[in-house]
Symmetry: C2
Subunit: 245 residues, 2 copies
Amino acid sequence: MHTSPQLPSCGHLEVACSSSCLRELCLPEGFSATELETLDGLVSTRRKLRRGDALFRRNDPFTSIYAIRAGSFKTCVTSEGGRDHVTGFLMSGDLMGFDGIGHERHGCDAIALEDSMLCVIPYARLEEMSQDFLELQRQVHRVMSREIVREHGNMMLLTGLRAEERLAAFLWNLAQRLGARGFSSSSLILRMTRQDIGTYLGLKLETISRAFTKLCDDGILEVHRRNVSILEPATLQRIAVGTAP
Amino acid sequence: MHTSPQLPSCGHLEVACSSSCLRELCLPEGFSATELETLDGLVSTRRKLRRGDALFRRNDPFTSIYAIRAGSFKTCVTSEGGRDHVTGFLMSGDLMGFDGIGHERHGCDAIALEDSMLCVIPYARLEEMSQDFLELQRQVHRVMSREIVREHGNMMLLTGLRAEERLAAFLWNLAQRLGARGFSSSSLILRMTRQDIGTYLGLKLETISRAFTKLCDDGILEVHRRNVSILEPATLQRIAVGTAP
DNA sequence: CGAGGTGTTGAGATTTGTCAACCTACGTGG
DNA sequence: CCACGTAGGTTGACAAATCTCAACACCTCG
């Protein structure tokens, strides 16, 4: 999601694609070396996208899961009224496309927020290999399960927090994820517009803007357009969980 | 979720548990007869719960998926501030517990909204059998994928609709699901409180109450406490998608 | 019969949305 | 290299939606 792509190695393993774009499919203890080699067979091709390009669109037939190697994406749905609703932001190491399995078509658009690169994992191959490697099947389940849990968290964010708190939670989450990837978790560059953040958080862009200003005034952030510095992480987190004074 | 438990048969098959509580695991074309017999081996035990009982609680170790045979549940999380947030309502035929796979612990509480009965599917057994039956593995993926899609829909509901529209969407969805199970889709009994609906929809209970009154005044519903009759389904749906006049 | 949980309604406070003006950075084309 | 157009971002004043607090009605259950 940022410059200086120093991805954390996936455990002690350094197999080309497994250590980068298959991060999410690598598990703590991991696979045996031979298994891991086979795993590389999961990836059929790489794909490059430029900022603004669509990886897939709603109702496109579902064929593959994608692992983000570099860059970042938003997933969004255009509702009846023509309004865009962002349903998620994804960054390097994240897997994308699980929403397509259920109905054999993608349920949303996936748009690159910057020039990006990803690995294509044909779903049929993932199915096959899951039959042979119990550990892979398990990991696929885990990844999907965690996506469900994450959405529950998002729901609580939307139902339980007020504007400023939602933005705090959003930034906190982003910072944590960047941190987990070896980037700075205190200084980040937003790759999305205020509008995108707004529809993601269920708020208007003006409200997002005001919430930013408020967090700045309170000395918690420093914001210059899309550059955000978190000056008081502890306070930000406190606001994010909705238990601030 | 209601009286008169006339469940639709799962395809042309009538195997005891497969046709009722494994509804979601049965797919259109389905399994062969022998496969289906083996599938019954998925279920270890039945369990009965009384209204208010917890099937599992947040952080309980995850062991099983549950298939609701009769009755209904809510899943909810108590946030730091002590507020209860409902994350979902489930009814007969639904599967519950996938949120636990990712972290080996349940991510929410599951509470019976009425006296209920369910089948216990030990996850380890599901894993094993998925290795042998590709079709079962596929179906598990599909079910989880659809849960992800459903959550996206919920998110859009929360970010895009206003109070009255959210309630309309909620009722419309409930009615459709009841209809799909062979119950009336125009006359329903709510098994949850206004409070529950409120935290699920991100609104206060008073707002829910007022939205009910509004929909009644407009002649779209007839409401007596928890009994709801949908007088104008078409209008209700139009409101639910946020494109009403 | 009384108590408590649940649901409704009202009045006023808060939060968020709306509309409009303006600013700023960035990319394009002259 | 500069000028200008445009998308993105900020801010203000006001409107609208929702929340809060409080009173009361209703039903169920012991």
